[in-house]
């Protein structure tokens, strides 16, 4: 097998990069951008809705927690469209580093209902809605979540 054969099997991908200020409300821009791309890729409506929710949660987490709502800090959303999947990467600048334990645990409904703050469902929701989810450190040193949603033919 020569090098040309290897190259010919690499997935064709197109990347859209979106840079947003860390202000609540801008997650809607990310939602609409991601859903616009997903619809054009052929995702069904219910999957697009799942994607919008997951993107919203990921960007809100990055704004609120990772960047501590410092509007001078950026949230970078990378949308990578492949023939059979859409990869969404959301990275913040890491003013607050996410505890890895927080990325795997599931909240208990009874505990959450007793708290004044009913938040804390974002990561759980993302894991429920996306086909693959991975929390890593961004090249910039911040928090990064990589989500994959597969395109069913």
């Amino acid at each position: 097998m020569d090098k040309h054969d290897d190259t010919s099997r690499e997935p064709v991908e197109k990347i859209i990069e979106l840079r947003l200020p860390s202000k609540l409300g801008y997650e809607r821009v990310a939602m609409d951008t991601a859903s616009s791309l997903a619809r054009r890729m052929g995702f069904h409506d219910d999957r697009v809705e799942s994607l919008k929710t997951a993107v919203s949660e990921a960007v809100t987490n990055a704004i609120e927690h990772g960047n501590q709502q410092d509007s001078a800090m950026k949230v970078v959303v990378l949308l990578t469209a492949r023939d059979d999947e859409l990869i969404i990467s959301v990275a913040d600048q890491g003013r607050k580093i996410l505890d890895q334990d927080d990325t795997t645990s599931s909240p208990h409904i009874a505990d959450v209902l007793e708290k004044f703050d009913k938040g804390g469902w974002g990561i759980w929701l993302i894991r429920e809605l996306m086909d693959e989810v991975e929390f890593t450190t961004a090249p910039s040193g911040g928090n990064q979540v990589r989500m994959v949603i597969h395109l069913e033919q």
């Binding site: 859209i16 979106l18 947003l20 809607r28 609409d32 951008t33 791309l37």
Partner: protein, 153 residues
């Protein structure tokens, strides 16, 4: 907000939806958002087709910001083909009379839809087209900001 797109026809629709969400968040009236969507698509198609000569490895960058009471959008390409204004562009009537190609009306259309539009100089190589919209007024009364070496179209 910044958006970087692949240089491929069709991606102007993703830009349209992203920037419309941004404009909505800033309080731009819905009828002006419709104008913005059409004008932005035209500017992106110009950048993809002309500025970047449809080369698939290039990118189009879109920058959105608020200047005074205006939403300002800059659509920048990598300048494979620099913009060269025609001395006497044909009018729509002349085009319909068969005196020239029916294409090439994008800049004219944009100028009718925006409060302000034109090419601006930039430090980097490439063409940069600026579109401005009043944030809180439906009527086109112009934007008062100083865009530097602005050339109206």
């Amino acid at each position: 907000m910044e958006l970087i797109l692949p240089n491929e026809l069709g991606y102007e629709l993703i830009a349209r939806d992203a920037v419309a969400a941004f404009a909505w968040r800033l309080g731009v009236p819905i009828d002006r958002i419709d104008d913005l969507k059409t004008a932005l698509c035209e500017a992106c198609i110009n950048a993809i087709e002309h500025g970047n000569s449809l080369k698939p490895d290039l990118h189009v960058e879109i920058l959105c910001r608020v200047e005074d009471e205006c939403l300002v959008i800059e659509v920048c390409d990598e300048g494979v083909r620099p913009f060269a204004p025609k001395a006497e562009p044909l009018s729509i009537v002349e085009k319909l009379a068969g005196m020239g190609s029916l294409r090439g009306m994008g800049l004219m259309l944009i100028s009718q839809l925006c409060d302000e539009s034109g090419f601006v100089s930039r430090d980097d190589v490439g063409n940069c087209f600026r579109l401005a919209f009043q944030r809180h007024r439906a009527a086109s009364l112009g934007c008062s900001s100083n865009p530097g070496s602005h050339v109206s179209v």
